[in-house]
Symmetry: C2
Subunit: 338 residues, 2 copies
DNA sequence: CTGAAAGCGCTTACAG
DNA sequence: CTGAAAGCGCTTACAG
């Protein structure tokens, strides 16, 4: 019922079909024209024998495995499951499979994984961070290893394909929304600033506030790390601020959710005391109390599109960068001050 | 800096070391005794040339890939990331890699994946459900494909290694806890009952209630599906019950969290109106409002242990079933009625 | 303990 | 369009 590995070989098929192994290979891989009659014979034989090409022998010649590595920091951070799901669904629909690697954002792990994957003969590598170093990525690209950067924009790497949401614009939307609600004192809990996504969300937000003449002293920035724990801590810091803000923009939902927890513990009513906006629109954001107003990225779609570019590159086409639009999702974590 | 695939071959190493390729192979794979002198020469040559064996050529002979498939229903369900993380960490520490497959609990997807993985020459398969059919698993086992069942106990499959929490006992603990708090009317939102984990949690809970003479009519069971959406719906059903219960035991946290959302929308105070106990102790359970009291499983550890058994089996040792103890984690979702 | 050689199951120039 | 044959880079009996 389910094929056991390595039983019938291409030679068996060739015999059954009365052709040479070369011909079988050609029809199966569509690597050369074969007459309709022979093609038919081969297909029938393949079917009858339930032939499945040996992946090793195939790979030994072609150097391809039909598997792709996805390097993330931590699948336990709720942003990544949605992303990984998008990647996996697309990839598997194309007959590829996905190897998942968690690095905890440590460059040495990232490096170790890249070597492991390369040694296994992976067909392509998908990164969600650049912590491994731009030079490494460049040398990979130089060696013609297909690479895609997911969720960030590379800054100094020519020719690296990427798929992102317009993070700067997302920051702007958050700023405008809060401004419209009548807020005057703001805190931004940022992502790590060695990361372009973190920097751009910050820049969009701050630029917008300044454009509308919010004074420097009413804009506080606290750098954090995109994790729930980081958000929890930054909430503590926020509570120590001298004039408290009325609005807080978190660079992602995970941090906002961590902060919500802290506020709940301190019995601080949201949105009465603070209006809160997140970023990402991860699944749980609608399930916390109060449901989180956030700037949405289509995470699943980013995964799918990245996978699409990846496979295009692997199969010899030219990949191209994709930029998606962020969108405001209004829920219950903000209040109007006017 | 990072090895490009397939540059230097075993022959290059052999030449450099002044030995035969066979000898190189033997020292690298520790597959036969080689004299210390030659061993040393080989190791030096390997190191100098930065030799990495070609995975395809190796696999062509050995039929092993050092990769393992993990079949789950949906990585987006917060139980699975923690599990997958445990598996991945262990597996990668042993030089293996993890291929992740989401089936959405659909038998046809599960089957498709198993075939895909087998055709790729995977070394072993880890299942989190038996939806593919016990006969399929049996035939896999029969073909000597290493298999491990994670988080459930197989019922009719001789020789299938598994790693689980004692689900029955977990149900008992939930029952006793709620009883001690003075509750008298109970609802159980169960997992799917075609699944032993769902059935056992239910059985432990119900048996305990009966043991303490709770009357039939005060025990309502609503079958659900382990998802947040399912939990949300079951909360609606619960609200339609004629005498409302005072305590609800959810067969997992994801459902409890979905239900919490519904109660929040309806402005029903938890734990004032209902006392709620979950199962699993997933990460977000401590972050919802109120933080969820739950029966904890060591999910990450289950992942690691399962991976350990998997690799033992792959490497020719005998795997053995492991049963872990559940534990009550008291947070803020229950109140005492006495 | 060590090496020469066959073979794993494919793919792909090379002829025809 | 088709086939015979070499070769991908290893491993493993088989001799010695």
């Amino acid at each position: 019922m389910i094929a056991k590995k390595g039983k019938v070989s291409i030679i068996d098929v060739a015999k059954k079909a009365g052709v040479s192994p070369a011909t079988v290979s050609r029809v199966l891989n569509k690597t050369a024209r074969v007459s309709p009659e022979l093609t038919k014979k081969v297909l029938i034989a393949v079917n009858e024998l339930n032939y499945v090409p040996d992946p090793f022998a195939h790979g030994l010649k072609t150097k391809r495995t039909r598997s792709i590595g996805l390097i993330i920091s931590d699948i336990t951070n709720p942003f990544f499951p949605e992303l990984a799901r998008g990647v996996e669904d697309y990839v598997s629909s194309m007959g590829y499979s996905l190897i998942l690697c968690n690095t905890d954002a440590k460059p040495e792990n990232e490096k170790r994984y890249v070597e492991l994957l390369l040694n296994k003969g992976i067909d392509g590598l998908m990164f969600t961070s650049l912590r491994i170093g731009e030079d490494v990525i460049k040398s990979l690209l130089n060696d013609e290893v297909p690479c895609v950067l997911v969720g960030r924009k590379p800054e100094n790497i020519e020719g690296l394909v990427y798929v992102v949401t317009d993070n700067y614009k997302g920051g702007c939307i958050a700023g405008e929304y809060l401004l419209n609600l009548g807020h005057k004192r703001f805190v931004h809990i940022s992502g790590p600033l060695d990361n372009s996504a973190g920097r751009e969300r910050l820049a969009g937000f701050i630029d917008t506030l300044k454009k509308y003449k919010v004074k420097e002293e009413n804009i506080i920035i606290i750098e954090s790390d995109f994790t729930m724990e980081g958000g929890y801590k930054s909430a503590e810091e926020t509570l120590n601020l001298k004039p408290l803000p009325t609005a807080i923009f978190f660079a992602n939902d995970a941090m906002a959710i961590g902060a919500l927890q802290k506020f709940w513990e301190e019995k601080i009513d949201i949105p009465e005391v603070f209006s809160i906006v997140g970023f990402d629109n991860i699944k749980v954001s609608s399930l916390v109390a109060p449901p989180l107003t956030t700037i949405s990225q289509e995470i699943y779609k980013i995964g799918q599109l990245s996978a699409g570019e990846m496979i295009k590159i692997i199969e010899g086409e030219k990949g191209e960068p994709i930029i998606l639009e962020p969108k405001l999702i209004e829920r219950r974590s903000c209040r109007c001050l006017r």
